[in-house]
C-alpha cells in the first residue's frame, strides 16, 4: 500500500472514530466540543523529516544545536564532585548580583570567593545607571544601589574588579552585564580596564545584554529613541567584532517580553523582529554576516506553564532563526544560524504565585521538564519564593537545585535529544507555532520592521493588551491558577517551610550607600581633569551628530578621562533626544 492509500485508510478510520466514538461521548456529557485533542498522521501530512527536523546539531536545528550539550559530557563528574551551579566556578559565569556602592559589591564578591564561589562578574546595575543617570541626579534619589550596583564612572567599575585578579583576571573569567541603553559606556569601561591592566582587549570575554529594542516593549530602561539606539548598537557591534571578538554582542530577551505579558507567538515574533533589526544594523555597519552573527545570543525564550507549547516554541524558534539567517541573510557558518541561550524553556517568574508559594516548586519543575525535553538543561527556575520579593532563601535555592538534579539524574529527562521529534502532535504544534510567528513577523515587516513597530506603539501595546487579556481569562475563570482563582476554600491549608534569606549585604551599609556614592562622585568631579573631560565630551557630541562615525572610540576616550555615565548619556540625549514613555 502506498502513502496515499495509507492516508486514505487513516482518513476513513478518523471519520469513523469521530462519528462512533468521540461524537457520542461529547453528546453524553452534553458538551459543545471535545475538551481534549488527538493527533494522527493526518495532522502532519507534509512533514519531511530532514527538511523540518533533521539530526541534532544539523540544520535547521529543530532537534537541537548539538548532538549533546557540553554539560551532558560532565554530568556524571558534576554528581561525583558535588558541583553547585549557583556558586559558579573559575572561568564560568557567576551568580547574577549587585547592590550598593562598587566597594560594597566588591567586598561581597570577595566574601563569596572565600567561600569557593568563584564565577565571573555577572553584574546587576541599579536603575539610575541603567537609565543613564548618575547617583547625584534627582532621578536617582532613593534608587542608588538598590536593584543593582551604582556605577557613575570608571572609578566605580574599577573598584568592582578589584575582586577579579590573578586566576580570576579578566582575560580568564567572563563578565556579564545586564545593561542596555548605556551598554556602550559599560563596554568602554571594560575595554579601558583591560588597557589599564595591560591585557589585550581581544582577550575579553562575556556578554552585555545590549538588547535595547526589547526595553521599549518590556522592562523600560530606555534612554534614547529607537533609531539612535540602533545606531549605538551598530557602533558596538562593529567595534566589538573588530576589537573584542570574544565578547558576545548582545543577549536578546524573549523572556522579558513574555514576562511583560506577551503570548508565546508574540514572544517569538517580537524577539526575532528585534534580532533582524540588530543583524541589519551590523550589516549596515559593513560587517559580513558570519563575522558577527555567531555572537548574537539570546537570553531565553519561554515563560509559561503550558509545557507542550513551550516545547514546540523551542523547536520552532531554532528552526525559524536558522532559516532567517541562512535564507534571508545568506549565513554560511552554522554558528550564525543557532540560537544560543543560557536558559531555554521555563515557566517565567510571572507564572509563580504569591498564594501558597511552595506550589511554585512544582511549577518550576514543569518548566524544567519542558527545557529538558526541548534541548536545554532541565533547570527548575525560579526558586519558589520568587514572588515574595525578599530575595531567594537558602531553602528555596536548595530545593531548586535539587529539583534540577532530580530531573537530570533520577528522571533522566535530558537523556534523549528532542524526544518529541516525530510526534504527530508536537510536529503539528511546532508547525502551527512557526506559521503563527512568521505571520506576526510579516506584519511587523510590513510596518517597516521592529523599530517602526516600536515607534508606532504596536509591539508595546500588543504586549500590554495580551497581559490584560490573560488577566481577564483568569478573572472570568476561563484560565485556572491553583490557589489563586480556584481551590481556595477553607479546606485547603497553607504549607510553609523555614526560610533563611542569606544576608547578602549589611542593611546598615545599604542605608548609607546613596550618601557614600554621592560623596565619592563629588570627589571624582573635584579630582579629575575637567578640561580633558569636556574636550572628550565635545568630541563625542560632534561625532554623534554624524551618523558615519563609530562612537565607541570617543566613548572610551570619555571613560578614560573619567567622564561620568550621565555626562556621556547627556551628550547623547542632547543629540539623539529622549524616548517617550508608552501611552495606553
Amino acid at each position: 500500500m502506498g502513502r496515499d492509500g495509507y492516508i486514505k485508510k487513516i482518513e476513513t478510520a478518523a471519520r469513523q472514530w469521530e462519528e462512533q466514538v468521540l461524537g457520542p461521548r461529547i453528546k453524553r456529557f452534553n458538551l459543545a466540543e471535545s475538551p481534549t485533542r488527538f493527533y494522527s498522521p493526518l495532522n502532519v501530512r507534509n512533514s519531511d523529516f530532514l527538511e523540518k527536523v533533521g539530526f541534532p546539531g544539523e540544520y535547521p536545528y529543530t532537534a537541537g544545536n548539538s548532538p549533546f550539550d557540553f554539560w551532558k559530557a560532565f554530568a556524571a563528574d558534576a554528581a561525583k564532585t558535588g558541583y553547585r551551579p549557583d556558586w559558579g566556578g573559575a572561568g564560568k559565569v557567576g551568580k547574577y548580583g549587585g547592590f550598593g556602592t562598587a566597594s560594597d559589591y566588591r567586598d561581597y564578591l570577595l566574601r563569596m570567593q572565600s567561600m569557593g564561589r568563584k564565577g565571573g562578574p555577572n553584574i546587576a546595575f541599579d536603575l539610575a545607571t541603567q537609565c543613564g543617570y548618575d547617583s547625584d541626579s534627582p532621578y536617582a534619589e532613593g534608587e542608588v544601589g538598590r536593584v543593582g550596583v551604582a556605577i557613575d564612572s570608571f572609578r566605580d567599575f574599577q573598584v568592582i574588579y578589584e575582586a577579579y585578579t590573578g586566576d580570576l583576571d579578566i582575560d580568564k573569567v567572563p563578565s556579564n552585564y545586564t545593561i542596555n541603553a548605556p551598554a556602550a559606556v559599560i563596554i568602554a569601561m571594560y575595554a579601558t580596564l583591560a588597557k589599564k591592566r595591560g591585557i589585550a582587549i581581544d582577550r575579553l570575554q562575556g556578554t552585555p545584554q545590549n538588547d535595547i529594542l526589547k526595553e521599549f516593549i518590556a522592562r523600560g530602561t530606555y534612554i534614547y529613541p529607537p533609531r539612535p539606539s540602533i545606531r549605538l548598537f551598530r557602533d558596538i557591534c562593529v567595534f566589538c567584532t573588530h576589537y573584542l571578538p570574544r565578547l558576545n554582542i548582545n543577549s536578546i530577551g524573549g523572556y522579558h517580553i513574555r514576562e511583560a505579558g506577551a503570548t508565546h507567538i508574540q514572544d517569538l515574533a517580537f524577539s526575532f523582529a528585534n534580532g533582524i533589526a540588530y543583524i541589519e544594523a551590523g550589516l549596515a555597519g559593513g560587517l559580513d554576516i558570519d563575522a558577527f552573527a555567531p555572537r548574537i545570543t539570546f537570553n531565553a525564550f519561554g515563560g509559561s506553564m503550558e509545557m507542550y507549547k513551550e516545547i514546540a516554541l523551542q523547536r520552532a524558534a531554532r528552526r525559524i532563526w536558522a532559516r532567517i539567517l541562512k535564507e534571508r541573510f545568506g549565513a554560511r557558518d552554522p554558528r550564525s544560524m543557532m540560537i544560543r541561550q543560557p536558559i531555554t524553556a521555563h515557566i517565567g517568574c510571572s507564572s509563580t504565585t504569591l498564594q501558597r508559594p511552595l506550589n511554585n516548586l512544582a511549577r518550576a519543575v514543569i518548566g524544567g521538564i519542558a527545557a529538558g525535553m526541548s534541548g536545554g538543561i532541565p533547570g527548575a527556575f525560579p526558586p519558589f519564593d520568587e514572588p515574595l520579593g525578599l530575595g531567594h532563601s537558602q531553602e528555596a535555592t536548595q530545593l531548586q537545585i535539587d529539583a534540577t538534579r532530580i530531573m537530570i539524574y533520577e528522571a533522566k529527562v535530558a537523556d534523549v535529544n528532542d524526544p518529541w521529534a516525530g510526534s504527530y502532535f508536537m510536529e503539528s504544534l511546532t508547525d502551527e507555532t512557526e506559521e503563527a510567528a512568521l505571520a506576526e513577523m510579516e506584519k511587523i515587516e510590513n510596518m517597516g520592521g521592529a523599530v517602526a513597530a516600536i515607534e508606532n506603539g504596536y509591539m508595546p501595546r500588543c504586549v500590554a493588551k495580551s497581559a490584560y487579556e490573560k488577566q481577564k481569562l483568569v478573572e472570568q475563570l476561563k484560565e485556572f491558577i491553583v490557589g489563586v482563582n480556584c481551590f481556595t476554600s477553607d479546606n485547603e491549608i497553607e504549607v510553609s517551610v523555614n526560610r533563611i534569606v542569606e544576608a547578602t549585604y549589611d542593611p546598615e551599609r545599604m542605608k548609607t550607600a546613596e550618601d557614600r556614592q554621592k560623596k565619592s562622585l563629588a570627589r571624582l568631579k573635584r579630582e579629575r581633569n575637567g578640561t580633558a573631560v569636556s574636550t572628550a565630551l565635545k568630541t563625542l557630541c560632534v561625532h554623534a551628530r554624524d551618523d558615519s562615525y563609530n562612537l565607541m572610540p570617543d566613548i572610551i576616550e570619555c571613560v578614560e578621562n573619567e567622564a561620568t555615565l550621565q555626562e556621556i548619556s547627556d551628550v547623547l540625549r542632547q543629540v539623539f533626544g529622549e524616548a517617550q514613555p508608552i501611552k495606553l
Binding site: Y139, E141, L354, G389, K465, I481, V484, Q580, I582, L584
Partner: protein
C-alpha cells in the same frame, strides 16, 4: 461629587522601575470597570505625579512599584499631596510589596495595598466603597 461624573483614576509609575505590566493591566481593567483612567507612563517623579493628580482632578491615585523603592517614593507622593491639600485623593499601591512593609505604608496614609494576584474587581470594589470619601466637603464639579 457630581453623580454623573465618572470616578477619575490616575495610574502611575514612580521612580525608574520599568515593570509596567501590572500598571497597564490595572489601567485597562479599571477603564473597563467604568472608571476614567489616566496612565502617566514610566519614570515619573513624585512631584510630577502629585501635579498630574491635581491637574487631572483625580479621585484615586494608583502607584505601581516593583523595585523595592516603595517606602521612600510613596512617602514623597503622600507628603506632596498633603502639601497641596489634596489628601482627599484615595491612594492605592500595587507591585512587589513585602508583607512586613504594609503596616508602615498604611501608617503613612496608603489606603490599600494590592499585591500580585489581586483581581481587578477587588480594586474597583474597594474604590467604589471608599468614595466619595467625605461627600459633604466635595465641591460639585461641572464638566463641560
Amino acid at each position: 461629587m457630581n453623580e454623573n461624573r465618572k470616578i477619575r483614576v490616575l495610574i502611575s509609575k514612580p521612580g525608574l522601575d520599568g515593570h509596567e505590566r501590572g500598571a497597564m493591566v490595572v489601567a485597562y481593567g479599571l477603564r473597563d470597570e467604568g472608571f476614567e483612567v489616566i496612565y502617566t507612563g514610566l519614570r515619573q517623579t513624585p512631584e510630577q505625579i502629585v501635579n498630574a493628580a491635581i491637574q487631572e482632578d483625580v479621585d484615586v491615585l494608583g502607584l505601581s512599584i516593583l523595585s523595592g523603592a516603595h517606602l521612600g517614593l510613596t512617602r514623597k507622593v503622600i507628603d506632596g499631596l498633603g502639601a497641596q491639600q489634596a489628601d482627599d485623593i484615595l491612594v492605592l499601591l500595587g507591585g512587589i510589596i513585602p508583607e512586613e512593609d504594609i503596616p508602615a505604608l498604611k501608617e503613612m496614609g496608603v489606603d490599600e495595598i494590592f499585591t500580585a494576584g489581586t483581581p481587578i474587581k477587588d480594586i474597583s470594589d474597594f474604590i467604589r466603597s471608599h468614595l466619595p470619601r467625605s461627600p459633604e466637603q466635595e465641591p460639585v464639579i461641572e464638566k463641560p
